[in-house]
Amino acid sequence: MSFAIETEGLIKIFRSRWSGKEVRAVDGISLRVEPGATFGLLGPNGAGKTTFVKMLLSCAHPTAGRAMVFGRDSREAEARRPIGYLPENHRFPTYMTGRSMLDFYGALSGMDGVTRRKRIPELLATVGLAEWGDMRLGKYSKGMLQRVGLAQALMHAPTLLILDEPSDGVDPIGRRQIRDILHALEQQGVTIFLNSHLLAEVELFCHDVAIIHRGRVALEGKVKDLTAGSGYRVEAEHVPERVQQELRAKAMAVAQRNGNVEFLFGSRDEANLAVDLLRAEHCEIESVARTSSTLEDVFVKAIHEQ
């Protein structure tokens, strides 16, 4: 099976022309993204995310290693045909209208005139810019540019969408709209590769993530696995002081919350024993839940551990 994206030991070293100083922007990244996946690439500023994406698109040439897109070497022009790309800090020509911009980039993607003319109004409507298609991009707001940029990336119905900070500068409604569009594309089997520093956005949308730091993969896996904790939280009310003392000795943490007591246990057995004791003492169990971390917790931990 060919992966939507596959990199092997990808390295990019930038050398200063005068001083000869080297910067290893990407330092041996090997990643695999399956077709139809929603993949988030995370990392602090300067981690090498954008350089990695640029190598996938052949905007930057790898110093070593290789990048493949649907089984083709990313340096081949044909490897870019299934890709729709929205860059971060894009600068669309301001002399173009939304319509002419879509037409131009559609033509570069190899679409014929008839298909382009049919597709443009559909896409403008999809991103909520149907009435703005004939206005120059110079007059667009940041959010509108982001949306027309997304339309540009979708113009030739790509099977791999690479988005660099797609909701940057977009208001919450627009952000929701973009997420809905991406969900619809996910349903259609489009592989979505999201490069973003908005962890909540990635957590909401992506199923798989990789966190890169200093040009290397610090952590990789399924979002649900990475954010799943190993502890159990038991919340009860009317817990006598004596029982509280007994459980406090076994719990990792205890917290008072609106008159209830919340115990945090490190294992399922400890949690079960606590529930038995609380029920025997006629305490009301409010909730029992497995603990979880946010992607932010995972991110911070991964960065600090590396």
Binding site: R80, P87, H90, Y95, F104, Y105, A107, L108, G110, D112
Partner: protein
């Protein structure tokens, strides 16, 4: 060349025209050309009697008994000379921004993410730029040729050929714009380097005189190499004038050697562009 390749090329050419329109480059040239054409249509009155010009009126001043062929060729020659000097400087100045603008961060990444070879992007832009200038030169030259032809009955093909030579020279100089633009991504540096080549051309054209003045053999070799290596703007101007005046061309070396320079420099531009990281 398949339909996709043609479609991509046309899109790149159309985009260059669109940017030239937006930057008012096209309209600036078009306006100047139209003003000159209107001048010849309405201000200059020519009365031809039996193959010779009886009177030529310009702003109320009248001249008599001029040779019609001579007058037309002189007017054509003046326009050709203008196009080869001031027109060429203006064209390079106006075009200098059209190539580096493609390399702006945020714009180049998007272009490179499309399934198009890098050389294709560069050649498409280059072709579009040449066509923007060619459209204006041909418009002016053809209209003036038509006006003079209708008013005097003299139709000389040399003037039309000279416009082709002017476009050819511009296309050669634009290769410098491409290479410098790829290397430094700056319209200012691009303009300076190209203007430098244009300014040094009339000096190098006096290569034989220069060689006599120089005492060292090394200096003479440098001048000789520079003359043969660089595009010969001055010499091509002379050839254009000879074409207009109907004089024979005894040496085509400046034409082919300038073309060779253009091919090499454009090739270097494509090579650098293909290897560059964005």
């Amino acid at each position: 060349m398949n339909s996709k390749t043609i479609g991509v090329t046309l899109a790149l050419v159309r985009d260059t025209f669109r940017e030239a329109f937006a930057r008012k480059i096209f309209w600036g040239f078009f306006g100047c050309s139209t003003a000159l054409i209107l001048f010849f249509v309405f201000i200059m009155r020519i009365d031809v009697v039996q193959g010779a010009i009886a009177t030529v009126s310009l702003f109320g001043n009248t001249s008599h008994s001029l040779d019609v062929q001579r007058l037309v060729r002189q007017a054509h020659g003046a326009i050709a000379a203008f196009l080869f000097t001031a027109g060429m400087f203006l064209a390079v100045f106006a075009s200098a921004g059209l190539i580096p603008s493609v390399f702006e961060p945020g714009r180049i990444e998007l272009l490179l993410s499309k399934p198009v070879e890098r050389y294709h992007i560069l050649l498409g832009r280059y072709t579009g730029n040449v066509l923007v200038i060619a459209a204006n030169i041909f418009y002016l030259v053809f209209a003036v040729w038509l006006i003079f032809g209708i008013k005097t009955g003299v139709w000389t093909a040399g003037f039309l050929w000279s416009s082709a030579l002017t476009v050819y020279m511009f296309a050669v100089l634009l290769t410098v714009v491409v290479l410098v633009g790829v290397l430094w991504e700056s319209a200012a540096v691009t303009t300076m380097v190209t203007f430098g080549i244009m300014i040094v051309s009339p000096i190098l054209a006096q290569q034989q005189t220069l060689e006599r003045l120089l005492t060292s053999e090394t200096s003479r070799n440098i001048v000789r190499c520079a003359y043969y290596a660089l595009p010969k703007v001055f010499d091509l101007g002379r050839i254009a004038r000879s074409l207009v005046l109907g004089n024979p061309i005894d040496d085509w070396m400046p034409v082919w050697s300038s073309g060779l320079f253009g091919v090499v420099v454009l090739g270097a531009g494509i090579y650098v562009f293909a290897r560059k990281n964005y």
